[in-house]
Point group: C2
């Protein structure tokens, strides 16, 4: 596609999405659920096509030298399709966030004022590799009353087109316009540039992928972005900690899964308990094959590599942990507020006042007391589903579910009231 | 100041604001209120200086040919100072939004999860002319636990510096860092460019001023912007309207004040009642000196100039009203969703289903039934104060008070809980 054609193509998607957004915003809950289940039905009917189209992507991926992990994320297996179908059913079962009216009350003027939860309008989702994100993202946008424009990775284009066909067939079967969910069918990179600079057609962008992709999009976007950058998460073990809880939480936060954003990357330990807890932890981490990097005081107590300034600011996503011994809560909070990516940070302490100070003063999307950072997740928090985890402070922080894809408008009821 | 110096100067303000933001975020309500009242006290003590510094701005303004309206907005009179002091006291009396925890509940895993309302961090406010905005903006940021960087118009620099001195003295008197509210003390335009492109130091920008200023800032900002563009507000008179209510609301929405964003700019009238209501309205508007511009059907009924396509998309901010006769609710909603600036739109109808459809399907920040659009205002809605009116859909829509300067983070309480 030529540059001009991409521009026109994306503008046309945008125009159609804006029109479809009016229809889906006003659609009753039952109709949206019907469409979700119809899409699940279409996926079930199209299993053979989905797998065979995915084979084309996998073959191209192998030819282009994608590594095994990338190919694994790209693969659409029968179990992947089962998962997509189950996800659609789960989203259909969630409560509809739209239309909820809260805080309705009378004002001295006599008008009644409240807020109504409403869709954002058109959501643009940009993601990489995993074709099942197409269904995840589409279902959450649909249920929250938004039209969606989905731009998957070029390496998954055949899979995404096949999924798009199921989406459109399902929407039509339910009596909704197919344009409620559109999949960008060109692999031209210029399409992303267009999608993030059409504020007249797109109300918010949700990028899902590596930090590089998200930083590029945030820099160039002329549309608000709900972004998830990195997860440099901390656990602080206070001297008033129950050391058994501290041990269990520190092990879980680091070793439950390594490549996830809510894994602990830095452990802060109060100097009064470091000699008690660190050797025990070091032995357990060694058993799991976790590389330790510590400050000088840490290295006086346990065997560890040198932690540099860079380590405090690094999201390892790997079996590596940096450890720092601190003089107390003040230093722990200062360290976290300087180096944390404001994703998730936890304190382990039995002290009421310190726990209270930690949750108030640590400026992160999730703050925890005596719990593993691994809980920072839309499902664990009860959102039922998750479009992403926001490291922004505006609009939505932390795990973003259906509510994060909505906003609130003001509703005023009068009886001929005028302003005096 | 050289370009490099402006960059360094603004970065220094940003660094200081970020540090101060930690202090004000953790400050107890009583301390924030003490600071607000101390600032009021400083203003009261500095009346002579405030007026004499303002005289310098007024003299320069006259020399530079500012018109009478501009000079009026720029003037700091004794009553202006009274207003600022009263405003500070009112904000001190408002409930503190910070720290509110909602939705705390147990999850199947055993953790307890809820949301805590917290400040955004550092708020940059860019405004024109009126020096009293300096106090308005500072007080709302302070009460909501945010540090603020305020950039007023260059024509008000002496007034703003004098107000800044009161702000800083009041903060210090209360025992808070003076950097909690900083006023940009250079009139160099490059300072704005810096302020809106320092995401590491500034969490949100609130521009207050003309549409041109706001569009420029939105285009160039690398920081989220809570913006208020224009107010093209509609009143739709349904054929099921009580025509006395319709008359009163239409007059109030247009003629109560002309230069305000929540004034009606376009009146839509159902064809079945147009012949009854329009001549009565036309006579009343003529008495007020309102110029009418109508579509062809309107001009068949009353004397009016021709309304062009451009009229439907124009915020007059003047005694001008465009009028269109529509075939019913569908056409009214379609017209509004096409031409409204999504600020405030109202229906006048006694019909339950149509009222319900209007508030659901009209995609504007405020939707009203049988009430004047003039009610779209933070004070009228009970926010106690208003930093602006958002025409955005993300984060905050419509009048933005203290809550709009906050966000919600997740709080998790456990007892040694780990993820299975």
């Amino acid at each position: 596609m030529s540059e001009l054609n991409v521009k026109e193509y994306m503008a046309e998607l945008g125009r159609k999405a804006r029109i479809a957004s009016r229809v889906i915003a006003a659609a009753p809950t039952a109709l949206k659920n019907k469409a979700l289940l119809a899409i699940a039905n279409e996926l079930d009917k199209s299993r053979i096509t989905l797998v065979s189209e995915n084979q084309k992507d996998l073959a191209a991926g192998k030819a282009n030298g994608l590594d095994a992990a990338m190919l694994d994320r790209l693969a659409v297996k029968p179990a992947t399709i089962d998962g997509m179908i189950e996800g659609l059913r789960q989203v259909a079962a969630l409560a509809d966030p739209c239309g909820e009216i809260t805080g309705m009350s009378y004002r001295p003027s006599g008008i009644q004022v409240g807020k109504m939860r409403v869709p954002l309008g058109v959501v643009g989702i940009i993601y990489e590799s995993r074709p099942n994100v197409t269904i995840d993202a589409a279902s959450l946008c649909l249920k929250s009353g938004n039209a969606a424009i989905l731009r998957g990775g070029s390496e998954a284009i055949h899979s995404n087109r096949a999924i798009a066909n199921c989406l459109q067939a399902g929407l039509k079967a339910a009596g909704l316009p197919a344009d409620v969910v559109q999949v960008v069918e060109t692999t031209d990179r210029a399409a992303v540039g267009e999608l993030i600079t059409m504020p007249q057609f797109v109300d918010v962008i949700v990028p899902r992928g590596g930090k590089g992709l998200i930083e590029r999009i945030s820099t160039d976007a002329k549309v608000p972005v709900i972004k998830h950058l990195d997860g440099i998460c901390h656990v602080y073990i206070d001297d008033k900690a129950d050391l058994d809880k501290a041990f269990t939480i520190s092990m879980n936060a680091k070793t439950h899964r390594y490549g996830v954003c809510n894994a602990m990357e830095t452990l802060l330990v109060h100097e009064q308990v470091a000699a008690q807890i660190l050797p025990r932890l070091a032995a357990a981490y060694a058993e799991k094959g976790v590389e330790l990097r510590g400050d000088e005081k840490t290295r006086d107590l346990i065997s560890a590599n040198v932690a540099t300034e860079e380590d405090w600011a690094t999201e390892y996503l790997a079996p590596i942990l940096s450890i720092k011994i601190v003089s107390g809560l003040d230093e722990a909070i200062a360290h976290i507020n300087q180096y944390s990516s404001q994703h998730t940070d936890a304190i382990v302490s039995e002290d009421y006042t310190r726990a209270r100070r930690f949750i108030t003063e640590v400026d992160s999307a999730s703050v925890m007391v005596n719990a593993s950072t691994r809980f920072a997740d839309g499902f664990e928090y009860g959102l039922g589903a998750e479009i992403g985890i926001s490291t922004d402070k505006i609009h939505a922080r932390g795990p973003v579910g259906l509510e994060g894809l909505t906003s609130q408008k003001w509703v005023v009821f009068g009886d001929g009231h005028i302003r005096a």
